[in-house]
Symmetry: C2
Subunit: 475 residues, 2 copies
């Protein structure tokens, strides 16, 4: 077995950009920045144009360059100026590139040049703590990290980012709920290296506080009280901000689990997950039929929802559906969702069984809660579905009655048809779309989606197997 | 609808012994007591022979007389004297009657004369608080109650006892876990009457303290601390004793529930539950097949177990079986047991279903519990029944695996065969018998027991219906 260090060495070679790639990307950035400066000057606008992000810090991964160009305006500039005057100007600077307007807190321009994403982002030149927009911190992040970097640390950061990507924990977007690039940088700076960060993560527990600035030293409980999060990485540029706020408990723990595994059984699979051979329809059919569980898929359209909104709605909806099914007695084993982030979305719930026995126990009120007892007895004695009782068990009235929803698919079909599922907690923007159209598919019916939806086949195979690809058989 | 008072009036007529019955029973008692006194004198034994219990207090129910004759010896008499010299003497006094020796804390003689049970019980003449045996309190109980009674109260006590019998809450024996006759007497004395006791019970909550002696007045919490029981009725003869210690939470609440119902819809059915028409085999078959649940019956022999021991073992065993089934994922709706208290016993468990889906979710350790994680992953990765995962969910490793016991009958069959079920908590004296022989029957197979076991048919019909007979359709 190779040592962790050997693996790191070999991975580093593959992910560090070469001279040629570096020059190509930097030239692209310089050209756009130069155009921006010229245009700004022509318009008589005072603003600093800066390269930010991983490119500026030289912590980017070969083949995955993002050019982040920030334009810093003086605080007096009103926000509507960004949309009305800055965006058109940015469009001209990026003429000839494919362009998409994006909205984070405020508008910015995203372009594609030769597979390289270029973001042109306006922000305010303010002093730390006097933030006017969410992106105002970025130049300070760049400066902070750059001031601490050396060549070795740049490589260590690249390793951690690639590791996070490989295990599916990279990215602060809601779909992932994972670790941002800046967060990876802070972790490497804090622990002093990639392997050190992995070892450090093994000691994490819920409520761990990582504070590079030492701002909360000796009063970590204050940080926990303030941030109320399982993973707290204090932003050295703004001690009131938790850089890890985007990291879900599951992704924090996924990273910890992967760290443990990598240190015990190092392998490049953590950085470069092996491609699974594409499963044919009969193979998937066999996977579904042999497992003995019930799979339910809800397909709906999601046109018009930006990814972060979409995934927020999806996660909320999955939790609500799980709750509804659980309340009706179903045992939900797992859930997941696929989307092309443009038109289509599929929610999947895996149940022990989508059919339940026909009788359920209704536990009524304690015998001494007069009014509730009266209503419970009146209701159950008149219930045509009463099977047994009512009788007293422990301190409560109890009855066995016919189950209202013995079939999960029928339950979902009925509830989603009513009002798009709002009553059972389907998130409102998704409910709107469900109201217009949805399909429920069960078991091998789901295979039809593999033929219709691009990349769904791979996602489904991954979901069905469920095991991280880095988890070695000998674990 | 008749008033509660009218019902009471009419019931009282039926349950108050008439002159003839009274004379017959009292004559029987006097004769045996006279013989006892003569025999004791012949043997030169100094002891007081007293009539105790409901007969002495004139609170007994017509047709249900118990003659309790107590013989009070001086404290110097050793306990083995009771068995060695007293019992033979009692036998001679009860010559010509059917006799059974019984053991409570110490031996006593039970006889049957013309359908009347006669108990001849030795005890010690000691001062209150200096009790040498459990029965030493009885004469004090008799004296206390008698000193407080008048004719009206005797009737009220008869009503409460008959009400308790009617709803199945009468008797301190473990099979019932209900209200003793003395406890009924104390409740009527405390509340001043039968209906007053019912109304009083509506205000009961867990930890209620009823203290006729006022011993714990203003420090009821001390009584709760001392007795740690849901129903505390301080014995006025011994403030260190909870007269209601035998009352289970369920029987306390059954009484409260019945009291509420009786006051709302008075009926003689509470005192004289209507006989159910005996169900034929096809009727029972229909009842079982139409309900949609799974019934499992375990039949075993119980020869040699005195009733209180038997029922203690039965209740403990039922709880253990329920726990085992629940742990394996089965939903246990109800349970019950029948016994002739001599040879045979049948435990019944009603499940939502005795079959479970083939896959179950195993929730493993949190990712940071190093040693457990190592073992969980090693075990699951090598598990031929692994269906999905292992994967990280929330902060834990999780896996979907084939269920070990998808069939409840097979589970019970295997566990009971192993060691009589000791490992899954079958109580030891019952496990001994199970080891020798047991049968498991499921669903309509249980009907065969109705043909074999006397009175099981009625018990089963009652169990299947589950509703107290006093619960009126309009409740």
């Amino acid at each position: 077995m190779p040592s962790p260090e050997e693996i790191c060495c070999s991975v580093l070679e593959r992910i560090t950009p070469g001279r040629e790639e570096r020059e190509r990307v930097l030239t692209l950035a310089e050209e756009i920045m130069a155009k921006l400066r010229t245009l700004l000057a022509q318009e008589g606008l005072e603003a600093e144009v800066r390269l930010e992000g991983s490119l500026a810090k030289d912590t980017w991964l070969s083949g995955e360059a993002d050019v982040d160009i920030f334009v810093r305006f003086r605080p007096e500039v009103p926000k509507k100026f960004f949309k009305e005057r800055f965006l058109p100007l940015a469009r001209r600077a990026a003429e000839g590139l494919k362009q998409v307007e994006r909205y984070a807190e405020h508008p910015y321009l995203e372009c594609l040049a030769d597979g390289v994403r270029v973001n042109i982002v306006p922000c305010y030149a303010v002093r730390p703590g006097e933030w006017l927009s969410a992106t105002d911190r970025t130049p300070y992040h760049t400066d902070f990290v750059r001031s601490r970097l050396d060549e070795r640390l740049k490589g260590e950061i690249r390793l951690l980012k690639k590791f996070m990507k490989g295990i599916g924990a990279y990215g602060a977007e809601i779909r992932v709920g994972g670790f941002s690039g800046y967060l990876c940088e802070l972790l490497v700076l804090y622990y002093g290296g990639f392997l050190e960060a992995l070892k450090g993560a093994l000691r994490w527990r819920k409520g761990v506080v990582i504070d590079l600035s030492g701002y909360y030293e000796g009063r970590e409980d204050e940080a926990r009280e303030l941030f109320r999060h399982h993973l707290i990485v204090v932003d050295p540029v703004d001690p009131g901000r938790n850089t890890a706020a985007s990291v879900t408990l599951e992704k924090m723990c996924l990273f910890m689990a992967a760290a443990r595994e990598f240190l015990a059984r190092p392998s490049e699979a953590f950085f470069f997950p092996p491609e699974l051979p594409i499963k044919s329809d009969p193979e998937l059919e066999q996977l579904i039929e042999s497992r003995g569980t019930s799979l339910l898929a809800i397909r709906t359209r999601i046109a018009g929802l930006p990814p972060d909104v979409l995934w927020g709605q999806v996660h909320r909806t999955l939790r609500a559906l799980r709750g509804t099914l659980k309340n009706e007695g179903f045992r939900v084993l797992r859930m997941g969702a696929w989307s092309d982030e443009a038109e289509e979305c599929v929610l999947i719930l895996e149940l022990e069984s989508s059919r339940l026995p026909p009788v359920v126990k209704h536990v009524g009120p304690p015998v001494w809660v007069e009014e509730h007892v009266r209503r419970f007895l009146a209701k159950q004695m008149a219930n045509p579905g009463l099977v047994c009782g009512p009788y007293v068990e422990g301190d409560r009235w109890v009855a066995l009655v016919r189950r209202r929803w013995p079939d999960a698919r029928e339950l979902l079909q009925a509830k989603l048809s009513e009002d798009g599922g709002r009553q059972i907690g389907v998130a409102p923007l998704l409910a709107q779309r469900v109201e217009e159209h949805f399909d429920i598919l069960e078991g091998t019916e789901i295979l039809s989606l593999c033929r219709e939806l691009k990349s769904f086949r791979e996602w489904l195979a991954d979901f069905l197997i469920g095991r991280p690809r880095w988890l070695a058989p000998g674990s």
